[in-house]
Symmetry: C2
Subunit: 328 residues, 2 copies
């Protein structure tokens, strides 16, 4: 566990250095400033580091994967930036979000710019034309699927009767491809066969939901760094695993009240509402169920790893464990 | 002129057919519906048609350029869709804009999806790996530069003293690359040398501003189909050529009043304000100056065309004339 954290730290520095070249913070173009305001809200550059760790573990040269890894980090942050506008979130890691500070217009446009810069970073990779094109394909597929997941997320929020199945489809799209993307890119740079690449996608489909369910749980325990508030997801009416599962197990009166609270505009949700939902979750053991569900997904992920036709499976095990245990 | 219009018509049908395959209108994914609502607000598919016409005129097979042409059309519409959110425009071609009908969240997300789909369309092109990668590069460069132009557009609007030079830089970025992009892609598919490709980019840098200046003029004559309103740009405080030039020629009192009117929120701009600005434009012959400026740019474009090292220059002449004379 320590080893992977150290790798993330040292690779993170490389990523930040290259990012400053690809998107200079000090150009007066109305783009560098909002983008760096966002990038400085934190993030441990975990996703690009996983790309580089995978590449190295599979015998590739991580320097050749650096530009792709950066693209993954840029895309991840672009989604956070656009999501903040879409969700109306005003704070991210205790700082005002980009749209609050620079306006909705600049926030949308800065996000658009990040996508272009992500592609440019890939195009600058020191790899063959064939590999470069494969990396563009992987990146585009991830981008597409993540946006499809976001579409479900936005619109399920308004729906009254989300099921656990809906939820899982949504997070598989929204986070599964995303988690696999860096590993897939690292494997491509390391010249690994298409069969292995397919298995890594599979891995993401288990790890993504596991990670997201944990994220849902974190909102009820530590809060998500939006001013340290507990229960933001309830205020937002977010289609969480906990909400979806509660709808399946609660009785009719509880279900009605739960839907009513989730449907309230953020500013109308009271502390009593949040307490009521937390009590409901306790009554039905919703948090424990979620925790167990996430652990099962991780077990599945480990099974996929054991079947991976590569010599060094240990790195995948470490990544899976790390992603399963870290706090957002 | 007739010939090019007929080509646009017949190619436009091919583009719409392929678009329905790439983004099915009837999938219940919360993406096809808003995107097709936007696509159906019109557009003559001029940009993709120009790509295909160029490809054919240079001896290429336009069918091989079809996927790239579609990507250009998708990107163009994505920009319109995001611009509508950024500018707060509520109507486009007499229909409500996507954000008005589906919410800001779905509008941003649908635009993001269009970018992914644009790239996917290019990746589906029946051309060699090398060409495909070149097309991705051209598309990405265009995407990047157009967003840079949009950043200037958004932020110059708030600035008090925009110059004609600022304006020209902004529109060169925002529309120049965009106009050249289709022709460049068509030329790449037709196997044309890099030197010619560079000249086509150059062509776009003259045609783009010419086209945009005409668009600024149209706002004062026919209106832009936003409920047929004349003077939307004045209400919006848009950094138009007319505004920038007026700031250079008007006296201090006029300049102050002009800035004051342009800075007003859209809903506070009165009909009297718009009339006052129109009179100011008349007093200094601003519209005539703009018209002449656009014509000079077209002349420059024609000079670039005469130097193009290709046999069939006629198609470029036709495209330049067509773009210079059409109404938005």
């Amino acid at each position: 566990m320590m080893q992977i954290e150290e790798s993330i730290k040292s690779y993170g520095k490389k990523i930040d250095k290259l990012l400053k070249e690809i998107i200079p913070p000090d150009r007066h173009d109305f783009l560098g400033e909002p983008i760096w305001h966002h990038m400085n809200t934190g993030g441990k550059r975990v996703r690009p580091a996983i790309c580089l760790i995978t590449c190295e573990a599979l015998g590739g040269n991580p320097d050749n994967a650096l530009y792709f890894a950066l693209a993954v980090e840029i895309l991840h942050n672009m989604f956070l930036l656009h999501d903040d506008v879409e969700d109306g979130d005003t704070m991210r890691r205790d700082k005002p979000t980009v749209w609050v500070k620079y306006g909705i217009d600049n926030a949308i446009n800065a996000g658009d710019y990040m996508v272009a810069k992500g592609y440019q970073s890939i195009l600058a990779s020191p790899v063959s034309t064939e590999k470069k094109l494969k990396l563009v394909e992987v990146f585009t597929l991830t981008y597409e699927k993540t946006v499809e997941g976001q579409a479900l997320d936005i619109n399920l929020r308004a729906a009254k009767d989300i099921t656990v199945k809906d939820y899982l489809e949504m997070v598989r799209l929204k986070t599964g491809y995303y988690l696999a993307c860096g590993m897939v890119g690292g494997a491509i740079v390391a010249d690994i066969s298409d069969t292995v690449v397919d298995s890594i996608w599979e891995l993401g489909k288990n790890m993504g939901p596991a990670f997201q369910i944990r994220d849902d749980l974190i909102d009820l325990t530590y809060g998500k760094g939006r001013g340290g508030v507990i229960g933001s997801d309830i205020k937002e009416g977010k289609a969480s695993f906990l909400y979806a599962y509660s709808l399946e197990v609660a009785n009719i009166e509880e279900k009605d009240k739960l839907i009513q609270i989730m449907a309230k505009p953020r500013e109308d949700t009271t502390d009593d509402d949040i307490r009521w939902v937390m009590n409901l979750y306790d009554k039905y053991g919703v948090k424990e169920y979620a925790q167990n569900y996430a652990e099962d997904l991780i077990k599945h992920a480990h099974k996929t790893i054991e079947k991976l036709p590569v010599g060094n499976k240990e790195v995948f095990r470490e990544i899976a464990n790390f992603m399963a245990q870290r706090t957002a």
